[in-house]
């Protein structure tokens, strides 16, 4: 039963998202460098972090599927990757809007953070044709899990590679020295991460519930048609 806990999580999401938006526009101070445009940071970066974590979660579920052969883990992996791709679309669009506002260009090809996220996003776009080109359900689940694990392992490696790159245009908000944000901005940013994480979990549970209901209906239909 994936719908278990959906209602409290949904309510928590609405409350935290409302608090987050209020903090972004009424609590966090204006950035001295970028001014009002910096408000995009509070939606763009949490979405990117949660999307990348979702890809890694897809890999972990894929690993659990290969270990246990439990098909529910494959479904969890698929839905986590599906949600992360949707979040990834928003990350790319909000990133392009921020780039246009701050740098005057919709896309900057020599910026490692932007390009590395695009590489990860395009890598996961391969997941759909791979998954749906296989008809046998067991093979489909197995191959998809292998892809999810390999691509999921690539995400932290990619993140580390960007960190080790010399050129940094984006502000470092999670550095070991604490980054360069004042307290109000930092708090707003962390509330943003919590809000986007809750949004991800709510939509993930919603999708899982829907897919589970569809599968149970198909089972019921097969049984009824067999007895007819």
């Amino acid at each position: 039963m994936y719908s278990k806990g959906l209602k409290p999580v949904s309510i928590a999401t609405v409350v935290v998202v409302a608090i987050w938006l209020a903090m972004v526009f009424f609590y966090a101070p204006l950035d001295a460098d970028q001014g009002f445009v910096q408000k995009i940071f509070y939606v763009h970066v949490p979405l990117a972090i949660v999307a990348l974590c979702g890809f890694v979660a897809g890999g972990i579920f894929g690993l659990l599927h290969l270990r246990s052969r439990d098909r529910s883990y494959d479904m969890k992996s698929y839905v986590a990757i599906h949600m992360s791709i949707i979040f990834g679309c928003v990350v790319l669009i909000t990133g392009a809007i921020w780039a246009k506002a701050a740098w005057g260009h919709w896309w900057v090809w020599d910026e490692p953070v932007l390009v590395s996220f695009l590489v990860v996003f395009l890598l996961y776009c391969v997941y759909y044709p791979l998954r749906f080109s296989i008809e046998d359900p067991d093979r489909q689940a197995r191959y998809s899990s292998v892809f999810a694990i390999a691509a999921g392992a690539f995400v932290p490696i990619n993140f580390a590679a960007v960190r080790m790159a010399e050129s940094f245009t984006h502000p470092r908000v999670l550095s070991q020295t604490g980054g360069s944000m004042p307290g109000e901005m930092r708090l707003t940013f962390f509330v943003g991460i919590l809000a986007v994480t809750l949004l991800f979990v709510t939509l993930w549970k919603f999708e899982m519930t829907s897919k589970n209901a569809s599968m149970q209906l198909k089972r019921l239909r097969r049984r009824l048609e067999a007895t007819a």
Partner: protein, 69 residues
């Protein structure tokens, strides 16, 4: 980099947040259509199970002597 004036920056900030909530609303509308499809299929299955009953068979509700309605 100089700070952008608020009136020019506002459209970009609004664009970013509207993008997020547009995706959420689009996703929820797609999910709503899926839920509607599930409901239709459930109704079909209920009809199918009713048709499959033998003509002289007593309905489930009255079989155990439970009140109907």
């Amino acid at each position: 980099m100089p700070a952008l004036p608020l009136d020019e920056a506002g459209k970009y900030v609004a664009g970013a947040y509207v993008t997020l909530f547009s995706f959420v609303v689009l996703y929820l509308s797609i999910m709503a259509s899926k839920v509607a499809r599930i409901e239709r299929e459930l109704t079909d299955l209920a009809d199918l199970s009713e048709r499959d009953k033998a003509p002289g068979e007593t309905p489930d509700e009255t079989r155990d002597g439970e009140p109907v309605g």
